[in-house]
Symmetry: C2
């Protein structure tokens, strides 16, 4: 092949000419011998390896003709999702559920169905940039609403919605992570949940409730999901097996009103999750195994979170503010005044430790005053060592 | 939830307002007790169930931490693809390869990267509508070039390219299935392959070579792929493990020049094929197992094809023209003058047999003079019975 194909560049679609670089899979980053607190990887010690092997063997022994041929996601998995939702008091039917390749396929389908170039999407600051970048690539204008210790600032949201309406702009959806927020760890209060859902209905705007971490509660009582507070059906709740089972199985799901599910389904150009792994998960999850596994995960991640919080109290300057989350994978640390997160990344790298600087969690350039530490992946000893090294880097600045 | 959400319809993106219905997975169709010759499903008797179970168990025993966490497609699988290509005399490097969720993800990425609304794509008539619909959904204008017993009519292609160029239209790509065509079963001659590749270079148009069936040759010698005839790099070759291993594993791949692979990769919004099943396939395929399996498939499908061709000769009116394909999954039958394919579908349903009417294989309304019969899925006995029933329906018309 010649080094450069003449005229190839002029064949690209407009959207592909200046495409943003891919968000690479997290696992391949950090090849260096750093202690990485950067990514929300699952703890590999907790993968139910033997049970998944047994489930796979059983599916291949009993259902190979269907599991290995062309076909859609296994209907039995949808039924399990419906059953779990009903057990949580949610009215759910199979037509409320869309199974996809992880929540990432669902989050990529949402802009396909709802975003024309120039449409407005409301996000939280900070937020999960993996999702937000997909909205940007579809041509959305982002409006960032701030968050605090109770989650999204719903007063600010109301002002934003009112201002946009005054300018004739109706946002397509509000993207929020109300429970064990990524990156902030915060859980939105019940009062704000109710207000958010009621504002969405008032302004006729959808709410995308990213609930990747909701089942990983360490302490306190479950709060109702936005979807369960929503009598009219403005909420699309996005969930995943990545955090409660294994990211590698690539299966997530959405709950929404049937016409939204149907429309999302129409845009699954890239195909279905397929009949095989969806059967494996259903087989694994039967007989209460998934619930028992989640209980084990909660205890395990609670311990690792506590180890991190205690290490932070011991190793970081007192001016660092780090709230103990009630669940999820992350601790968000506000840095002392004048200490920049990106500068700290460089300093910490010299100590052999990495984490996510806050600027990577905002779409508007904010965030150099904070860092995100993941306690999900490393062992308790490694977490302590990593936090100690970050503390050393902080004190050297 | 209220039956209808006010204002929801006005939230949809333009592309989602009049979206075409999804192409449903083939397996769920034909729930009735019909003998179905409709879909190109793989023969479940040939799934290497035990070997896949062993490969899965081995991956989970040895590599669970990587296989089950976040991560990209397994690099070892890409290396296997590269190795197989090199064994076929193709210069290939890992950066020439993109692994995706079946060829369907690759075929969905192509319009994302190359099609702006109103762009032109050249297709064959007949063609594989699963791919063509994706091009239509991205806003492409289709131009159909006819085919005959040697594949795409390259004289007609040249006229089309010249006419389009005269009107200032440069098509983005030519979509072709040169080997064991779906639906026609035809294999493009070497002379036409050379001419097609040279026309593509002359007019600066990409060629998408859908090579889903190329490894399933029953008789005759392999012809060079378009990609291997293409010194400049205008060809994107799309392949899949669906036909040579199992559709349910949902893994396919593309071979193209690195800048095209890179660009396609940027648009994998819906995520990567993941680290698990790509490892399972690589583990299964090691030590020559895949080559041995393909040899077995070729023999098995050859026998079923022969059964179908013999049954057609015995059961169909003499006026039906059905060529014996050299590979693949399908026999294409030209109906006697005056016999409509859609009318025959209805008549055949009453006999308890189904197949694909030719109109489903054209984007321009042609095709009521032909039907596609798949010999891949049913057993030899069922094929004979199905063909006999279609013959009965034909004679009753």
């Amino acid at each position: 092949m010649p080094a450069k194909l003449p005229l190839l560049d002029s064949l690209y679609a407009a959207r592909a000419r200046d495409a943003m670089p891919t968000l690479k899979g997290a696992a391949q980053a950090d090849q260096s011998p750093l202690l990485s607190l950067t990514y929300g990887l699952a703890d590999p010690d907790l993968f139910p390896r033997d049970e998944l092997a047994a489930a796979t063997a059983a599916v291949l022994a009993d259902d190979a003709p269907d599991a290995l041929n062309y076909g859609q996601s296994f209907a039995g998995l949808t039924e399990q999702v419906v059953g779990r939702l009903r057990a949580q008091g949610v009215e759910a039917e199979p037509e409320n559920i869309l199974v996809g390749y992880g929540s990432s396929q669902i989050l990529a389908l949402l802009p396909e169905v709802f975003i024309d170039r120039g449409d407005t999407v409301i996000i939280e600051g900070p937020s999960f940039m993996g999702a937000v970048r997909r909205f940007v690539m579809s041509g959305a204008n982002l409006v960032t609403v701030p968050t605090d210790h109770e989650g999204m600032d719903v007063d600010a949201l109301e002002v934003t919605l009112r201002d946009l309406a005054a300018r004739g702009v109706r946002p397509k959806f509000i993207y929020t992570i109300p429970t064990f927020h990524n990156p902030s760890g915060v859980t939105m209060s019940l009062a704000r949940r109710q207000r958010l859902v009621s504002l969405a209905a008032e302004y006729g705007v959808l709410v995308v409730e990213d609930d990747a971490y909701g089942e990983l509660r360490f302490r306190g009582d479950d709060l109702p999901t936005l979807a369960s507070l929503d009598a009219e059906g403005w909420v699309v709740r996005v969930c995943t097996y990545s955090k409660i089972l294994a990211p590698g199985v690539r299966v997530g799901w959405a709950y929404a009103r049937p016409e939204i599910i149907e429309r999302l389904n129409m845009f699954k150009h890239e195909g279905d999750s397929g009949p095989f792994l969806t059967r494996v998960i259903a087989r694994y999850a039967a007989e209460g195994r998934l619930e028992a596994h989640i209980a084990q995960l909660r205890e395990h991640y609670r311990q690792k979170c506590d180890v991190m919080i205690e290490a932070i109290a011991r190793e970081f300057p007192r001016e660092v503010q780090a709230d103990r989350p009630d669940g999820g994978f992350f601790v968000w640390c506000k840095l002392p005044h004048g200490m920049g997160a990106t500068a700290l990344v460089d300093r910490a790298a010299r100590e052999g430790v990495s984490f996510l600087p806050g600027v990577n969690c905002y779409a508007n350039g904010q965030g150099d005053d904070a860092i995100r530490l993941a306690f999900s992946f490393l062992s308790a000893d490694q977490i302590q060592e990593g936090v100690a090294r970050i503390g050393k880097a902080m004190r050297s600045m």
